[in-house]
Point group: D2
Chain length 423, copies 4
C-alpha cells in the first residue's frame, strides 16, 4: 500500500472497519457450520478459514506490534490462520484447511469479534499513523477475502451433486439482446498509468509510470454468453490452432468443453450459480473462463485480449469524460453474486466480471514491496500469472479502482472472469 | 453371510437393531456437525457419511425390495450413500465424501431414524426369512462401520494440529511389566477351519474346510510397545534387510520411522489417542502398524507372523479349553477406543488390537459370494490385501469371532493393528 | 536354491555355463546397439543391462569372494549392474537403465566375455562346492533374464510406431480348432508339494511340505484366443460385476479393452509379436493378460483360476503317469518367442504361456531364504504378487519345473501370461 | 520470419544450407549411435531425433509443397519427426522419442542427406521466393536445434554416473579476477525496439515498435560463478524472503541448493561440463540457473533482472557505439560448449550465457504469426515463459542478434542461462 501516514482519522477508520466486518459476516447468511468448513481444492479455502484469517491479519500486523499489553486470543491461531506470510512463521498446510473442524465456527466468530473489539478500542487511543495504515491495508485485505468467500463457496458447492444455492436468483425479465459490441478507437501516445492521488492502492499499482501505448480499439462491453456459445457451437474447443500450446494441454487434461459451472442437459444449457442451477442467460457476460479460453475465444473472433495498459488507458479516459465508474457496474453489495445482464447503453469498465488481459503480472518500473512481512502481500506472486482488471459482481464497490491489478494463473476458472475484445 | 432362513425371531432382531443403532449414535457423543464432516483421506470417510450409509444399507437392501409401498426418504441418498455397490447404481466419489455439507448432520440423523422406524415397523409383519437374513447382515455391517467411525475419526483429528481428543483417557496405574511373551507349541495335523454352526458369519468365513497345518509355536500375547520400541532403538527402520522390498519403498516414501500416531519430543514418546495426546505406555500392545512394519519387526525378532490358519487353530483350541473368548479382551463397549495394557495372565485371542497374519486375503476353497448386490460385500476385495484376526478395542464385543477375517492393504496403518509372533 | 554341496562336477558346470551364455547371446541376433538400450518402463530393462547384469552376478557373488587375486573388470560396474541387492551396495536407479549409452554394448559384451572366461578358468581349480552352488544359481538366474530379455524387448518395441519384429513368424497352417477344453477331476487328499530330489530349485520352491487339497477339476489346456475373444465380444471389459474391485480400477485407469499387444483395425484383430504385427490366431493360447483379466475371464466362464497347489498336484500326477513334461510344450529354444497353437491331444502343463493361479506369492511353511546377499533373491518380494506356473514360449526348456513358482504383480501384462480354468 | 521475398540468391542460400548442415553433423563427432538415442526428460530430445527433425522441416515445409514430383523418403517419418506442428498432423509423443531405436542413426543420417541433396538440387531451379524464405527459416530452425543438441546431450549424460564428456576441456590459465562489475546508466526516453532492416528475424521479434523506457543502470558483464558462490555461502538457498513464491516451491520440490550440474565433494566445487567433470572456475559466468534462482540472486544482491526492453536498448546502444557485437562473445563455433571466462575489458552483450530478463514472453504490439503451419513456430508458446537474451556458448555466431528473443519456463535449468544485474 502507499505510505500516507498523515491522513487517517481514527474515528472514520473505525467506522469503516465495523462496516467491512458487517459485510463479511453478511456473506455467511444462510450457511451452516458444515458449509463453512468445505474445501474443494487447495486454492479455495473454507469460509471459516477466511473469517479467521481476516481477523488474524489485524491481530498479527496491528495489535501484536502496536497494542500495549497485547495478549493473543489463542496462541495456536497464529499458525492456523497464517496464509503465506513466511516472515510470521509456520503455516498450516493450505490444502488441509478443510480438516479444521476445531476451532469451531462459533469459536472463530468469537475470535473475529474479539479482534475487532480490541482493534476499535485501541484505535481510540493515539494510534500512530503507520499502524493506522496497516489497519487500512487490513480492510482492503478483508474485502479481497469477501470476494474469495463467494468464489470459493461456489466452487465448494459445485462438488455437491445437490448443487446447493445460497443467494436469491436474479429477478427481472430477460433484457433485449444487447446487440453487437461497439469498438472505440484510442490513438497512440504516451500515457501515465498506475495509481496516483491520495486514495488507497496496493503496492502493485505503484509507482505511477509512463508508457507508450500504440493505437488500439476496444470493445465497449465484455463478451456475452450468447457470443461465447457461438464459439462452442463452432467447435472452438476442438481446434488446437485457436489455442496456446499450454492452453490446449490444460483443455485436454481437464476435459474442458464449456466454461466452468456450465451444464448441458438435453440440448439445454444451464449454469451452477449462487442461487443454484439456473438456465444460461445469453445476455449475461460469459464468466468462469480460464485465460486460455478467453485467449482462444478472442483469436476465434479475429481479435485479441487487451493489455493492461490499454485497458487502464481506456478506463481512465472514460473517467475523465465523466463516467461515474463504480456506479455503472454490478458489485457484491447487490447480494446476488451473479453478473447482471449486459446493456448496450452502459459501457462501464468496473463490476460484473473480471476481464483477462494479455499482460503478465509483473512489477511496474520502480516497484518496491512494503517493508516487513506485509511486503509478501503482492510481490512474491509476480510470476506465472496474468492480470485481470475491472472487478466483478463479487467485488465490493468500495474496493475496486481502475488501476486495480488482480492476478490469477492462466488455468484458473473459479473466479468471475470473462473478457473484453481488443484489436 | 450364511443362509439360515428359519432361525430369525423378528422381535429379537428388532431389539438388536435398536441396540446396534444406539451404539452407533453413542459414538457421536461429544462430536460437532463439523467434526462429523471431516475426511482426511479417501480411505477414511466422514462420520456423517458412515451414519447415512448404515441406514442406506437397510433402506436399499431390505426396505426397497421388501416393504410394501416403499418410498425413499430422499431419492438423492441412493447415490450419495452408496459405498461401492455397482449393482445398485452410481456412487458419489469416495474421496469427496467430506465435501457434503448438505445433507446436514441433522438431516442425516433424521434419515437414519426414519429408516430404523420403518424397518422396525415392517419387522412386525410377516417378514420373509431371506429379508430378515439381510437385516442381520445389515446389523453386522453397521457394527463394522462403528469400528470405522472410530478409526477414521482418529485419523481425521490427527490432521488437526490441536490434536483433539473425544474420549476419556484410560484410568489406572501402569501395570507391572507383562514379562516376556510365552510361546505355546501346536502339533502338526489336519484341522477343520472356517465358520461352523448356527451363528452369523460373513460369506468370506465359509465354507468350513480342511487344512493341513504344520507344527508351530505361537506367542501367548501380542507384541508390546516396549518390545517395539527396542526394534526402533535398534535401528529397525534403517535396515532394508529386515523389510520386504515393497515395504521398504513404502517406508521411504512415507518417511516412516515410528508407528502412526507416535510422536517423539525431547526424547519422550507420546501417542495421539482418542483422548488426545498421551504418553506412550510400554505395557500396551503396539498398534497402528502397517503389515510391512509388523513383518519387519517379526524378522528382527527372529520370528515371523502366523498364518491365518495357525492363528485360527490356536484360537479354536483356546476356546475348546474353555476360554470364554470375548471376555478376556477389550472392546468398543469400554468407550475408550484404546487398547488395554497387556497382562501375563490373560492370553486371550480377541480384542485389544487386530493381528496381522502372513496370509493373503483370498477365497476359501469352495467360496461363493452371496447372490445379488450384497455379493459385492467381500469377494471383490480378495486381492492385494492381508488378513488380520482377533478384533480390537474399537470392535463391538458381539461382532467378533475367532473365524472372523478382517483385511487391509499391507501399507494401511490407521486401524488398531498390531501383531503376535509365530515361529 | 537348495544346498547340494557335493554334487557338482566342475567340467559339466562349465560346459553348461558356456551353453547358457551362448543362448543368452543368441537372443541378441538381429538387434542393434540402439535396440539393446531401449527401456520402455521401469519394470522392463534394456537388453544391454540384462547382459551386463547376468555377468555381474557371477563376478560379484562368485569371482569376487572366491577367485584368488580377483580384480574387477570395471569398478563402476558393481553399482551400474546391481539390480536390487542392497547387501551389495548402491544401485543405479532402475528406471534410468535406458540412459546408459556408456558403457557401450561392445564394452558390455567384453565384460560378459571376460567374466565368463575368468569363471571357466577358475572352475578348473579346486573350486569349493558352496561356490559352485552359486555358479549353478547364477546359471538359472541367467536363464530367467533370457526370458526377460524377450518379454522386455517386446514391450520396448511396442512403443515404436513401426512395431519392429526381430524373430521369424511361426510357420505352418492354422490347425483345426482345438475343440472345447476337457476337464479332469482330482480327488481330495493330502499331497506333498514343493521341490524334492536332487535337482536344482530356487529357495522359494522349498521346503517340500504337506497340504490338504480339496477335490477339483482342471482344464486340460489353457484358454485360447478364440475363447477370450468371446469374452470381449460379450462385453466382458464393460461389466464391473465380473472384476475384482482393484482390477476394475486398473482397467479404467489403463483403458484396457483387450489383451496387451492386441490391435483392432477395421474389425480385424492383430497382435504385436516378436515377428512384428500378425493376424490374431484363434487357436493360440491367449496371453499378455493381467491377473485381473484372467480372473474376470474365469468368472465370466463360470469357473475360477486354480490355486498353485491344485496346479502342482495335477502337473505332478501327469508326470507320474509318464508324461515327459518339458517335451510337450513350446519353449525359448524354438527361437520364435511366440506360443504354439493349442492341440486337443497334448494336455501338457509346461511351456507355451504362464498360467496365473489364484495363489498369492507367499513363503511355504518353513521357508528360509539363503544366507548372505543372495538371500534377497526371492524372499523380499513375497508380497502383493500372484503366482504363475508352467513356463512359456520364452522360457528355456532346461529352466522350467512343475514346482517352479513365478510371480508378478496382478496388474502386470507384459509377460506371456494366460490362464487355465479350474472349478 | 519476415517476408523478404525478393532478396534470395539461391546459390548463396544453398551454400549456407550445406554449411549449416555440416555444423549440425560436426556436433555428432565422438558420439555413438547409443549416445544419440538418449532422452533424459521429455523436454530434452535425443540427438538422433534432432537430426531427423531438422531434415523433416525442409522435407515437410519446402519439398513437399514446392518440389515437383515430390516423394517422401519414408512416409512414417512425417509423424515420427514432427515436433509440435498440429497443422501437419499426428506427432509421436514427445517423451517417447528416446524409444525409437529404429530408424537407426544410420538411416536417419541417410534421411538428412537425402533431404539436403533434394533441397540443393531443387534450389537450382527457379525456386519461388516464398519457398526460399522457408528455406531460410529452416536454416535458422536448424541452428536452434544445434544449440538444443548440445544442451540436451549435456543433460542426458548428467544421468550417467560415469559423467561422460565429449568435447575438449577449455585450455589456458585461469584469468585474473574480472573485478566488480561496472554499471552503466541509461537515461529515460522513447526507444524503437524489435527487429528492423533486411536481415532475417523470427516473427516474434517483430514488428518494430515504440516503448518508453525509464532510466536504469545495467551491469557491463554477467554475474560470475564467484559472485554466485557468495550467494550460496550466504544461505541464499535457505531464505524464502529472497524467492518468488513459485520459485521457493520449485526449489523445495527439486531439492535445489546449487546450480544444475554443480557438485560439491569434500568442500571442493566441480561442474559437469561437455568435457566431463571439471573444477568450478570462479571467473566464468554462472549458468544453468532457473529464472527463480536468477531472480533470487538479484534480490540478494540488492538489484533486479533487466526487462527485455532495457536489455535491448543497452545492446542497441553498444552496437551504435561501434561494438562488433558477435565478435566479443563466445559461441558454438569454438567447439567447447562451455562459456569463456569473464573479462573486465570486453563488455559484450552476445554469447557466453543466455541472460534471463524479467519480461514474460508475450507478443509485441501488432504481432502476427506467419500463415500456415509455420505460424505455430513461436506464437502458441507465448504464455508461462520468460524471455532470455544474448545467446550462449552453444549458439552459432551467425544465429544470434541483439533483437533475438529466447524463452523458457521459469523452472528450466538445462540451458546455458545466467543473468546480468540491473537496478
Amino acid at each position: 500500500m502507499n505510505a500516507r501516514d498523515d491522513v487517517f482519522v481514527p474515528e472514520l477508520l473505525a467506522r469503516r472497519a465495523a462496516g467491512v466486518r458487517a459485510a463479511t459476516l453478511a456473506l455467511l447468511d444462510g450457511l451452516t457450520p458444515e458449509d463453512c468448513m468445505l474445501q474443494s481444492m487447495p486454492e479455495a479455502s473454507p469460509v471459516k478459514w477466511h473469517v479467521g484469517h481476516v481477523a488474524w491479519f489485524f491481530e498479527t500486523f496491528v495489535l501484536e506490534p502496536w497494542q500495549p499489553g497485547f495478549r493473543p486470543f489463542d496462541p495456536a491461531f497464529r499458525e492456523l490462520f497464517n496464509s503465506y506470510y513466511v516472515g510470521v512463521g509456520e503455516r498450516h498446510p493450505r490444502g488441509q484447511r478443510g480438516l479444521l473442524s476445531r476451532p469451531s465456527l462459533d469459536r472463530v466468530m468469537a475470535y473475529q469479534q474479539s479482534v475487532l473489539e480490541r482493534l476499535l478500542e485501541w484505535m481510540d487511543d493515539a494510534a500512530p499513523p503507520q499502524a493506522l495504515a496497516l489497519v487500512e491495508l487490513g480492510l482492503h485485505h478483508e474485502q479481497q477475502h469477501q470476494e474469495l468467500i463467494a468464489t470459493d463457496l461456489k466452487h465448494h458447492f459445485w462438488h455437491n451433486p445437490l448443487l446447493p444455492g445460497w443467494r436469491p436468483a436474479p429477478a427481472g425479465e430477460a433484457m433485449a439482446d444487447p446487440g453487437p459490441a461497439a469498438f472505440r478507437r484510442y490513438d497512440a501516445g504516451l500515457a501515465d498509468l498506475g495509481h496516483a492521488g491520495d486514495g488507497f492502492a496496493f503496492d502493485n499499482e505503484a509507482p505511477r509510470h509512463r508508457v507508450w501505448v500504440e493505437a488500439f480499439e476496444l470493445a465497449q462491453r465484455p463478451v456475452s454468453n450468447a457470443e461465447y456459445l457461438a464459439f462452442i457451437e463452432d467447435g472452438g474447443y476442438g481446434r488446437p490452432d485457436l489455442w496456446l500450446s499450454d492452453g490446449w494441454d490444460a483443455r485436454v487434461r481437464g476435459g474442458w468443453d464449456m466454461p466452468l459451472y456450465w451444464m448441458r442437459d438435453d440440448g439445454r444449457w444451464a449454469c451452477h450459480t449462487a442461487a443454484g442451477p439456473l438456465p444460461m442467460d445469453p445476455a449475461e457476460p460469459v464468466c468462469h473462463l480460464s485465460y486460455y479460453e478467453a485467449d482462444a475465444y478472442a483469436r476465434w473472433a479475429g481479435a485479441r485480449l487487451p493489455t493492461e495498459q490499454e485497458w487502464e488507458r481506456a478506463a481512465a479516459q472514460a473517467m475523465a469524460e465523466g463516467a461515474s465508474l463504480p456506479a455503472d457496474g454490478d458489485f457484491a453489495e447487490s447480494g446476488l453474486l451473479h453478473p447482471a445482464r449486459l446493456r448496450a447503453d452502459a459501457p462501464g469498465f468496473l463490476g460484473g466480471v473480471w476481464e483477462w488481459t494479455q499482460s503478465a503480472y509483473l512489477p511496474y518500473p520502480g516497484f518496491r514491496p512494503a517493508a516487513g512481512a506485509v511486503g509478501e502481500y503482492n510481490g512474491k506472486f509476480m510470476i506465472n500469472q496474468m492480470v485481470l482488471r475491472g472487478g466483478s459482481c463479487a467485488t465490493p464497490r468500495s474496493h475496486i479502482r481502475h488501476t486495480y491489478r488482480n492476478f490469477f494463473a492462466p488455468g484458473s476458472r473459479w473466479q468471475y472472469a470473462g473478457l473484453r475484445l481488443a484489436r
